[in-house]
Symmetry: C2
Subunit: 198 residues, 2 copies
Amino acid sequence: MYPKSLEQLIQSFKLLPGVGEKTAERYALLIYESEIQDVEQFAKALMDVKENLHACKICGNLCEDCECDLCKDDTRNKRVIFVVQSAKDVIAMEKTNEFKGVYHVLNGLISATKGVMPEDLNIASLIERAKDADEIIIGTSATMDGETTAMYLDRLLAMQVPNVLVTRIAHGLPSGGMLDYADEVTLTHALSDRKKMQ
Amino acid sequence: MYPKSLEQLIQSFKLLPGVGEKTAERYALLIYESEIQDVEQFAKALMDVKENLHACKICGNLCEDCECDLCKDDTRNKRVIFVVQSAKDVIAMEKTNEFKGVYHVLNGLISATKGVMPEDLNIASLIERAKDADEIIIGTSATMDGETTAMYLDRLLAMQVPNVLVTRIAHGLPSGGMLDYADEVTLTHALSDRKKMQ
């Protein structure tokens, strides 16, 4: 129904997560109405990401060089490693400005339903890095797959690098969270991990 | 925080309607993980839309030639013109397969709040086309701006092309609509435009 070039762009937009026919149509029509230089920049940015972006060879974070800015930063404590699922989590954590160690990006989680096995993840190099570390903080999500991966990493590290301290980020009520809206698992965690008030 | 090429792509995605920082991040990371040929196709589709797509010189609908497929179609009744806000509406209407006339795309609506004046719209050529038409169906949305535009077009056509019949699409309860969920304006229309049952 749409002219061919517009239809093609709609199909491309539909590759994006959560974008259906209607949204892709809106996006494509906006592109038609946009300034040519914005669209040129968009097309260039797409190709640049594919051509220039790599995984850091140390931690697996996204970067344009062989090593990411965080791994290259000598002021950071290389002996504390925060393990996360994806590069997005590194950004989220860095926004807090609370963590001064380094990261390790797994590029996924172990998942029975999605058929993701430990060997599909960036785990082998974590074991190598753990040998020179004091603490490994497992920062995977508080989901089924996140917990499975956390448990797997804990056991693997206990076997292969017995001297390193393995910790898990706290579970509990989120900031602004209301008790009566929290699910049972959250409340169970919030209760069992309670701590003495100052 | 993100590598430069990724940040640039996130900025480009944020130009799309309703796309904020988080969504743009998800889109950009998906592009990083996509197949190179899909991304190449995406970049090409963006440029193609800017370079190949034009407004039909007769009706203002989107097309790749000077005239759109609907205006070129000799089986359609050129004496009945359905006036819509945008090319999206043409597609929506064509999906019903009920209308066999031609369209006229205004490319917007008169809007006091957005500062869109009648002279910003594709109205002058509608008056020209109306001179050879039997009926002009005003198919703008049932919103404030849609009604304003409909009223303006009705008066303008009555002055300039007094012999043409000007009609407005029906307002009322949408298919599947529940009476107790409908707002008062909809119900008022549904009542006043009631018709005899067969």
